[in-house]
Structure formats: structure tokens, C-alpha cells
Amino acid sequence: MKVSMFHLMPYRDLPDDFEQKYHSVWVDPPWTELGDAEKVGQYYNWSLDELIHAAKSGMDGICVNEHHQNAYGFMPNPNLMGSVLARATNGMDVAVVQMGSTLPTTNPPTRVAEEYGMLDTISGGRLVAGMPLGTAMDATLCAGITPIEQRERYYEAHDLILKAWTADDIFAWNGKYYQLPKVNVWPRPIQQPHPPVWIPGLGSLSTWEFAAQHNHCYCFLSYYGPKAGKSVMDGFWQFIGDRGIEPNPYRAGFLQLVAVAETDAKAEALYEKHIQYFYNKSLHIPPEYFFPPGHQDYRSLENNIRKGIFKSYFDKLDSIPNWKFKDFVDEGFVIAGSPATVRDMLADAAKDLRIGNLMVLLHIGSMPHDLTLKNIDMFSSEVMPHIHDMWDNQWENHWWPEKLRTKRQASIAAL
């Protein structure tokens, strides 16, 4: 099992009446009313410190991602964060997991090939290259990409980046969306033929097909826990099995919110309000922004409407504003409590969903810096050692930087 700390870098001080007063946390929350640049500078530095602390505490990887125009998590260029992290973790056996540059909105996509090349070289070959399609909010609303073209653009950008990393010769790219006369990326990555590629997804069939076809790691990034994720991951493994592909658990990644304290009661006292902040404010997004017509291809649209997937999803979200700590834990949205509680729930979830690459969100919503450091410490010292051995004697993690595939030594934590 490889365990990485994921960070969204959210705005930590939204007003109490934010979700009543404002239309959305994404795309149109007015900076001029809500944003404080001094505070934000502090958030970026705290977030970097928290991730570096996680690396020092013995975690296998540290993850950042890209989103735009929001208070939910705003690292518009995750590679700016990644470069700080790569530099600061040199000498540690820690992967720099970029989850990552949004392909359809980075123009030309060879920018991703170049920036990831920089990160892989700066880090000495420790990069995991996440290749997200991007949310509709980011790609269509913030970047103006036509919804029905987002996925096509994504496929073309992916093919271009992989070819830019692996082609023997300089080549011309005559694509539908990108035309480049002489592709010759400097620098190419250290990892050969290229860094491991992770594909974040939300359970659509076309993403499974894409990940399987290219032998990439499929990562289900959901905030709704293993209970809700079970049907998606079962579907994924069924899909893999049907195609005769090796069911290596490292082929799958999963994101989970985790909060640890000395006892279950203390976890409730420490984390409840931050969890509520995350679900009620950080995820305050109108459905129209999630799925502008065309964002889903016709077959996915048909499948989701016929199976009522949208409806059950949004019906469920309607009840969340009234949830307490216990509801989030009972539903599995957040795995929280004492180390014993958390390690049991997490181990069960990872086994049940067959997850090799686990990402844990240890900073949640409005959590202050000190509490985040505490959560990282308790997780890495009292939870992680108990789940770390899972899968290792049966499977090799082909989707992890080659030089980091052996288990991290416990002594690192003492540094």
C-alpha cells in the first residue's frame, strides 16, 4: 500500500452565512468581497508546510491538484506548488504526486510535458504524473472550453504529451485542437519511458476504458467515502476482470477524508465543525455548473439519466446541511475517530474496494494549521503503519516511481 497526503489548499475563513449568501463556491464567489490576499499567502505557506511535514512524517507521497476561480481549493498551477515540494523533499523517499495539470486547459499541452519534466528532474525521478480531464467548472466555465469538446481535447492532449516524452525524433503534431510544427520537449523526465500516469475519474465508463487502454492507474476521487464508492469500484474491477487484465490493486487509487484524535469523542470535538465547513461551504456548487450539456458524452448521459444517478446523487446532498459528525462517519464520508477506529475502517475500505494507492485528505475545510499537523502526526504514526503492508507481498506497484517502490524505512520519521 502506498499512502499519500492530498491537499486542496482551500480558503479557510469563509463567513458563517457563506452558503446562504453566495451562489457558488466555484466560478463566481467574488474575490473582492471574500478574498484576502494576505491570508491567502498564509494558506499557501501553511499548505506547503503541511505537505512537507507529511513527507517528513513518513508518508509515501504528497499530492496537489489544479482548480480555478474558487474558495474550495485554488492552486491554479499545481506545478508551482509541486516545484517547492520537489525541492524541499529531495533526499526523502517521497513521491511528488501531481493530480495534476488539467490537460484540456493547458495550451499547448506540451506545457504539461515540460513542467512535469522539470518536476521529475528536480525531484530526481520522484514524480507521479496525474492527468485530469478537469471539472466542468474549471474547463468550460473558467477556461471557456466548449463542453462537448472537453473530452476530445483531453484525449488529444494526453496522446501528444506521451508522444512528446517517448518519441525518438522531433515530430510535427497535426491534431484537431493542437498543431505544433516541431515538438521537442526540454527537459524530458528522468523516469523512462515516462513517469507513472494517474487518471482521476468519477466513475464514468469512458474513463475506465481510457485508463485500461493505456495501462494507467485509475483514481476515484470522491468525497463520499467507501460506502458510496463501493459500486463504482466494484464496477471498475468487474470491467478489468472482463477484459482479462491483471487485477493488481495498485491499478486503483482512492481518495478518503481522514481525521484522527486520541479518542472518538475527541475527534468529534476537534473536527466536526471543519467537516461541516467542507461539505456545506467548500462544496457549495450548483448542479448546473457540474454538468453543462455536453460535458458528458451521449452514452454516459444516457446511462446516468436512465439509472437515475444524477438524481440520487443530488437528492443525497440535499440532506447534508443537517448532518453531525456521527452522520459523516456513519455514512463513511469521513473516516474519523481514535487511531484504532480509523485504522480498522480504513483497512476494511482499502481491502473491500481493492485500493493500492490510497490518498488521504488530512486537511479538511477550515482546519487550522496546528490541528492539521496533529492529524498528520497521529495518522502517520498510529494509523499508517497498520495498513502499510497491505498487498505488498502479492503485487508490485507499477504505478509508482521505480526508485521508491520498496517500503519507506521507519527511521525517516525520526528525522
Binding site: 466555465l141 466548449t146 463542453p147 462537448i148 469538446e149 484537431k176 448546473e288 450539456p293 439519466i305
Partner: protein, 265 residues
């Protein structure tokens, strides 16, 4: 009510197979529908009393042909596609009426192929843009908000019909899929701002043109009537009261009369 025939035709090397609704008799008239897809309605019934109405479904919006949209990359392709479709249907110089998104397409056809269009009627068209009077982006509005902006009387039967969901579950799903995909396909040519160069080409329109606008249109504000009118030489503007974005249904009699008088002065 007139009998409506549905013809499926194959265009663009058979990659696009739209349904064309045909009804009535008399001189040929083409109706190009808006972003929500084609519904045969009382306005088309009225037109069919005097004309042979051809109402093609836009590429990709025809049930069973969702991939048709993949054959066209951009607006330039779409205009060429309509040139082909008109030729295939044997339409020689017809009157072309376009509503909303269809109005933009009609204006583009008339600007690119002036000889293709006998007379032109634009019903609340999109295609031009003013920063101070933005056109609402219906692709990211809840249906209730669209209805409020698009109808003079949002609680009236016309508006409520747009919000109504069939009781039968399968029919309700069919409708949701059809409407969403129509918005996706038409959105391909207008996202994120419906200003794709018509302003550079619109002066080429030579067809006599009637521009019809509801005075209460909050989706595409009535100011745009002048924006279109001032750019099309000799055009006429008719403002329709107690109507918003769908004047041809909200004021069916008035708009039908206006169009009849315009086509046969």
C-alpha cells in the same frame, strides 16, 4: 392540424442524418429551431396553412443520430452543411425563419450564401454581443430561471409546458436526454459567448429581412433588435408586446400576421 411528414435525409457523406419535418403546401419555407430542439408547434401549423414548411433538426439533435455532431468541427462546417442540406432538399431560394440559435444559423447562411435565401425572418436571434447587455447563458441556468427569462408570463400555460415532465418514466428520461443533448450540440457553435464572427459577415445579407423581438425578452434583451437591424440593409424591425424570447408562440396571431404580410406584401 396539418399532417406532418418526417423525412430522414443523409448529408455530409452520410455522416449526419437529420430528421426533416415537412408539412403544408405552397412556396417553400425553412424553419431553423432554437437550442432546446425541434418541437412541432402551433406556429409551424399556422405557417403550413400557406407554405410548404421544412423544419430540419440541427445536426446531432435527431434521436438515433447523436454522433452526427462529431462530423462538424465549427460554425464554418455548419454553414456548409446547411448549404448541402438545402441543395439536397431541392430548396431554391426559400424564405428562411430562424429562432434564437436557429436565428443565428439563418443569418450566417444568408450572409455566406446570399443567393440561398429568398427572404429572411429572424425571431429573437443570437449571434451578436454587447458587454453592457450580455446574452444569458442558458446552458448553465436551471430550467426555472430560463423560463422566467424566456416567457412574458412564466406562470402561464406555454411556460409551464416547458417545465412539465411526462408522467411515464421512460418518456421523462427520453425528454431529458433529448433536451440535454440538443443543448450540447447547439452549444458546440456558441460556447461560451455567442459571438462567433457574424458581425463581420452580416453586411453580406441581401435578402429582405424581418427582425421580430419580444419587448420583454430577458434572455436576449430587445436592444439586440437594433444591433441586427442597423447591420442588415433595408431590414424591418417588429417589436412584439406581451412577449419575451418566444414571440411566435406567445403572440402567435400577431407574429403569424407579421410574417405573412412580410412574405407576401
Amino acid at each position: 392540424m396539418v399532417a406532418v411528414q418526417e423525412q430522414t435525409v443523409s448529408v455530409w457523406k452520410n455522416q449526419i442524418n437529420p430528421k426533416v419535418h415537412v408539412a403544408g403546401s405552397g412556396p417553400a419555407l425553412v424553419f431553423l429551431h432554437g437550442a432546446y430542439g425541434l418541437t412541432w408547434d402551433p406556429f409551424l401549423d399556422t405557417l403550413a396553412e400557406q407554405y410548404t414548411v421544412y423544419a430540419p433538426e440541427h445536426p446531432g439533435t435527431t434521436l438515433g443520430d447523436p454522433d452526427g455532431i462529431k462530423a462538424l468541427d465549427d460554425l464554418w462546417d455548419l454553414v456548409l452543411y446547411y448549404d448541402e442540406l438545402f441543395a439536397q432538399l431541392g430548396l431554391d431560394n426559400p424564405t428562411v425563419i430562424g429562432h434564437s440559435f436557429g436565428g443565428m444559423v439563418a443569418a450566417e447562411i444568408a450572409a455566406c450564401y446570399p443567393q440561398r435565401v429568398g427572404k429572411l425572418v429572424l425571431l429573437s436571434p443570437i449571434g451578436l454581443w454587447r458587454d453592457d447587455v450580455p446574452v444569458k447563458n442558458w446552458m448553465i441556468l436551471p430550467a426555472e430561471e430560463v423560463v422566467k427569462a424566456a416567457f412574458y408570463d412564466p406562470s402561464g400555460p406555454l411556460a409551464q409546458q416547458m417545465l412539465s415532465v411526462p408522467e411515464d418514466e421512460k418518456e421523462a428520461q427520453d425528454l431529458q436526454i433529448r433536451v440535454t443533448w440538443s443543448l450540447a450540440c447547439t452549444g458546440k457553435f456558441i460556447w461560451p459567448i455567442p459571438d462567433k464572427g457574424l458581425k463581420k459577415r452580416i453586411h453580406r445579407i441581401t435578402a429582405p429581412t424581418l427582425i421580430v423581438w419580444g419587448t420583454e425578452d430577458k434572455l436576449v434583451p430587445p436592444t439586440y433588435a437594433d444591433e441586427f437591424g442597423s447591420r442588415i440593409a433595408g431590414s424591418r424591425i417588429a417589436m412584439v408586446e406581451q412577449a419575451a424570447h418566444v414571440p411566435q408562440l406567445e403572440q402567435l396571431g400577431r407574429v403569424s400576421d407579421l410574417i405573412r404580410d412580410f412574405i407576401q406584401p
